[in-house]
Symmetry: C2
Subunit: 342 residues, 2 copies
Amino acid sequence: MTNLTLALDAMGGDHGPHVTVPASMQALSLYPSLNFILVGDESLISPLIANYPADLLSRIEIIHTTEVVSMSDRPVHALRSRKQSSMRIVLELVRDGKADACVSAGNTGALMTMAKVLLKTLPGVDRPALVSALPAMNDKPVYLLDLGANVSCDSETLFQFAVMGSVLCEVVTKQTSPKVALLNVGVEEIKGNDQVQQAAQYLLDTPQLNYTGYIEGDEIYNGDVDVIVCDGFVGNITLKTSEGIARLLISQIQHSLTQGFFVRLMAKLIAPRIKAGLNQMNPDHYNGASLIGLRGIVVKSHGNADQTAYLQAISLAITEAQRRLPEMIKDRLESILLDINN
Amino acid sequence: MTNLTLALDAMGGDHGPHVTVPASMQALSLYPSLNFILVGDESLISPLIANYPADLLSRIEIIHTTEVVSMSDRPVHALRSRKQSSMRIVLELVRDGKADACVSAGNTGALMTMAKVLLKTLPGVDRPALVSALPAMNDKPVYLLDLGANVSCDSETLFQFAVMGSVLCEVVTKQTSPKVALLNVGVEEIKGNDQVQQAAQYLLDTPQLNYTGYIEGDEIYNGDVDVIVCDGFVGNITLKTSEGIARLLISQIQHSLTQGFFVRLMAKLIAPRIKAGLNQMNPDHYNGASLIGLRGIVVKSHGNADQTAYLQAISLAITEAQRRLPEMIKDRLESILLDINN
């Protein structure tokens, strides 16, 4: 790969540098052309990197700051007052072309608001969207957006999300004309609210996208479609509900397998198998949501990500940077919008 | 229990009389004071009851009709054209006081539209809601509404749903002042859309309800609250997403336990335990959604319910009839609305 520089909000997330720093060192050894700018409290970061070999350390720059965006900061407050925060600095590094992408595990609302103001949206994009790849049947990812960046969306915004989601899926998974669906309460034409029905009309009028129609909640993880579009209210609740029920089911199965000596023994013997079955859908085992529609790459990690999960967020940022995601979305969106206007 | 008569849409659902008739016979032997009016094609129903003892048969009446509402009938079409349908007749039996409640596994949209027109809403209720008890942690049910009867809801409708859901939970589970929450994209006051925020304000101003604030998708199944309110778009997708991911997870675990002779053998030995863990969250093992806010009791069964699942829908109708649910909701709603207006 060509030389890439990622800016990392080293302070973000529940575990701060204790997760972000080891994950970045692991990424450096996996990707020889990768460089990091770690932004955060140098007195916390330095001891964590002291024992790594010199060739890895030569690819790290630390920008020291002690200011952080807290989880309880309101977005507008963070924007106005946290001017020296690690979160803001990584966004500025992307804006100024000093980093190819940034990753943060901090306050989502603040990250979105700051990113929109500092990086600006692409031409033709009214609002950035938060999107993530969820694990569906047969190890296929399904891209769901918006995940909460926009609680209410008009039909045009949903349409833009469909275009952006489709391009993201193409760019990351390298499949051509991914199947795009709208999340709805039924598959019949008459179902849903005005926004969804109007967005469906726009999509039916856009042959450049492989729009397949409505999809219901129980089909999200079927693997039948590649991109699913909804407003941020629905998307956020859908994602979190999925995570909640997966965790509950996993805990109940684990609980049922610890009752009684014989059951416990047998369960232990086949534990790796049970674990494999459970982990596939375990929300703690995938990570990394992208803020798309911006003029720069911003990846949001789960706040509670461990080192392995955080490394996945870093890998996602690398993939998007290598494939120049914002330019791809911009070009594709322009060509579609141009076609529509002609 | 006092004598109760249920009207059953014997034709509704994927399996029609082959499920509804045996389930009703089973219910008759479980509940000695129960009577059924089975509405549907007598030539299909009669052979299915021929071998049951006379004392059960004496508690069955059959109303013959061959017209059915199909799954593809639009609600308004069903209302206008399916005047002799089994679905319409059971609703008329409730309206005319000839049955204490009705159960149908047919077309949900048609059932709602017909029920609203034939039974009418209670005073103070603008729109009926579809509600179901979902299995949460510690075998506690959590009531989620609306499940799709109303795709868009203003804040007042959400407020009415909260009142109705709370009364339903009190009546069915016999717990006092159940905890009521609004489903939202965050727990902070500033989160969500206008409808949810305004509904929260109404609920904060209503001390008669035990309103506990916002709840996120991953907390639905925690067992921390008893009633969760959202619009029908969000509720339908939340319910179906839960069902989809539960089925996927169950199938993946089952699949992982059939790979390799040793694993298969061990898994077989502890199969009942694994099954118990899986079944608890399996959407195929609970059944019965109530249309509430009407002047009569209407229970909707899953279309694909088997005999056991359909029996659960019948049991739910019995509980609601015994406890006079519509009157309870009416009284409670009146007293709350009166308090608010004073």
